[in-house]
């Protein structure tokens, strides 16, 4: 009964961008970067666990908390940055749906609007429980990545070695490797996740007594996500072993389909669409919840449309505008992808700083929910690493010749 938000926030993070990043990592470096995913499991759990505590203690969303405790300037900065990066990410989700549909011989002009309508109807039922059940089902569908990874036949010994022992892939430290490592970290820990899970917990009205189960839900979600991400990487590694080059995940699905059969191609393309759908509903909801909280509008999936028109309006607007932009001929998708990376780089460290400060706010949370000293030691270390990686990413976008080409 308590589980849901943790699994959803983690698995929705394996969205279209994540599929592309993990599959590319596999296609270029095989299973060499599996150790990084293992390292990211506790990091992603510790960050989201703070969100769980804050959500259960206050019963309010993250955007509302930043506004209340840090004032209008920081509140507005966080909200605008979140809405912008979320919208651009949504465009990439629909771009992935469009790409996968093309390879399934379905016209994007037909398929993308249908997907947008389905994703809109998903939240318009006025029932949090109905939305949660459907989205958890979509999360469980991602287990099919295990099947694809199994059929890719990675070497078990190599996989185990690369999972437990960090190693440098052949070619050494290149720009491409740095970009992928930062990309993997950035795609596994995204700013919208903080806003989404706290609002989701507030909407589900989790109680103080639910804290341990909500933590378990988050831990299971983190482990589930990392396993699925590892399977995506293993699936991509099949391309490396067959000498196939990576251009995009949909093209790779087609190329691998020639080796493993048409069912493999179809399954991978459908999983791409599923990943984009999960990402779209979670990201759009994080935007709608955040906007509703700040504006003081009713903002709950439990409310019918007539009682929360602003909340549902933001959701529908996000989905419709992103889907519409993708259908425009000559839409600047490459510019959008670079902008997402830069804006997410700006957003993530600032959002996490606010989270860490809020979790040390005894006036707000009392002794029961504030961070313990060991929490702070772990979280400040994570923040320092994320700051450094964000700066590396920004530096590489700004000065592409910073690292040797690879």
């Amino acid at each position: 009964m308590v589980s849901g938000p943790g699994l959803i926030v983690m698995e929705a993070d394996n969205d279209a961008g994540a599929v592309s990043t993990y599959v590319q990592a596999g296609a270029q470096y095989g299973t060499h970067l599996l150790w990084l995913l293992v390292l990211l499991l506790p990091i992603t759990y510790f960050i989201q666990e703070m969100v769980v505590r804050l959500g259960i203690a206050t019963g309010q969303g993250h955007a509302a908390m930043i506004y209340q405790r840090f004032g209008k300037w920081w509140g507005l900065f966080s909200l605008v940055d979140l809405q912008l990066v979320n919208f651009l990410t949504l465009v990439t989700e629909f771009a992935a749906i469009s790409l996968a549909l093309q390879h399934l011989n379905i016209s994007p002009l037909l398929g993308v609007p249908i997907a947008a309508c389905a994703l809109t109807l998903l939240v318009l039922t006025g029932s949090y429980r109905r939305w949660e059940r459907i989205v958890v089902f979509l999360c469980i569908l991602d287990l099919a990545w295990l099947w694809l990874a199994f059929h890719s036949r990675p070497s078990a010994g190599e996989m185990l070695r690369n999972t437990l022992l960090p190693s440098m892939p052949a070619g050494g430290l290149t720009a491409s490797l740095v970009f992928l490592v930062v990309g993997i970290v950035g795609t596994t820990i995204a700013p919208w996740q903080l806003f989404f899970q706290q609002s989701c917990i507030a909407d589900k009205r989790l109680r103080f007594a639910d804290l341990k189960w909500a933590r378990l839900d988050t831990l299971i979600g983190a482990a589930f996500t990392i396993v699925v991400a590892a399977c995506m990487m293993m699936t991509g590694s099949a391309a490396l072993h067959r000498g196939l080059s990576f251009s995009d995940p949909a093209q790779l699905a087609v190329d691998l389909g020639h080796a493993f059969g048409p069912w493999f191609r179809t399954a991978m393309l459908l999983l791409m669409i599923n990943a984009a759908a999960l990402g779209t509903t979670a990201i759009s909801l994080s935007s709608a919840w955040a906007y509703g909280e700040v504006r003081g509008w009713p903002h709950s999936l439990q409310k019918p449309i007539k009682d929360a028109p602003g909340f549902y309006g933001v959701y529908v607007l996000c989905v419709a505008a992103a889907a519409g932009l993708v259908l425009l001929p000559r839409a600047p998708l490459q510019l959008i992808i670079v902008s997402v990376q830069v804006l997410a780089g700006v957003m993530l460290p600032s959002a996490i700083i606010f989270l860490q400060l809020l979790l040390n706010d005894k006036e707000l949370l009392g002794e029961r929910f504030v961070n313990r000293p060991w929490n702070n030691a772990v979280n400040w270390t994570i923040i320092a690493v994320l700051f450094a990686l964000s700066l590396v990413l920004a530096a590489q976008v700004v000065a592409p010749r910073l690292f040797p080409a690879g």
Partner: protein
């Protein structure tokens, strides 16, 4: 409709537990936030926000540099090859 599950087994020593979905439960009193206002500027908070401002300024400088580089301004003045 209130959705509830009742758990009763030998392991529960004959006692009956009622499991209520959070959405069907009575809403509990959360930590009060409305009257608090802005956070107190302790040295740790001040330092964190200062670090965040410095980080944001650095990011903006980097983006500006990139925009100028793309526009070809830096290549012309600095003699860099495109």
């Amino acid at each position: 409709m209130i959705l509830q599950n009742t758990l009763s087994s030998p392991a529960t020593n004959g006692r009956t537990f009622l499991v209520i979905h959070p959405l069907d439960d009575v809403q509990e009193q959360k930590c009060e936030t409305k009257h608090l206002g802005a956070m107190k500027m302790t040295p740790a908070v001040r330092l964190s926000l200062l670090a965040l401002r410095a980080y944001l300024v650095l990011m903006m400088v980097m983006v500006l540099y990139h925009a100028l580089d793309l526009a070809g301004v830096l290549a012309q003045n600095g003699g860099k090859t495109p």
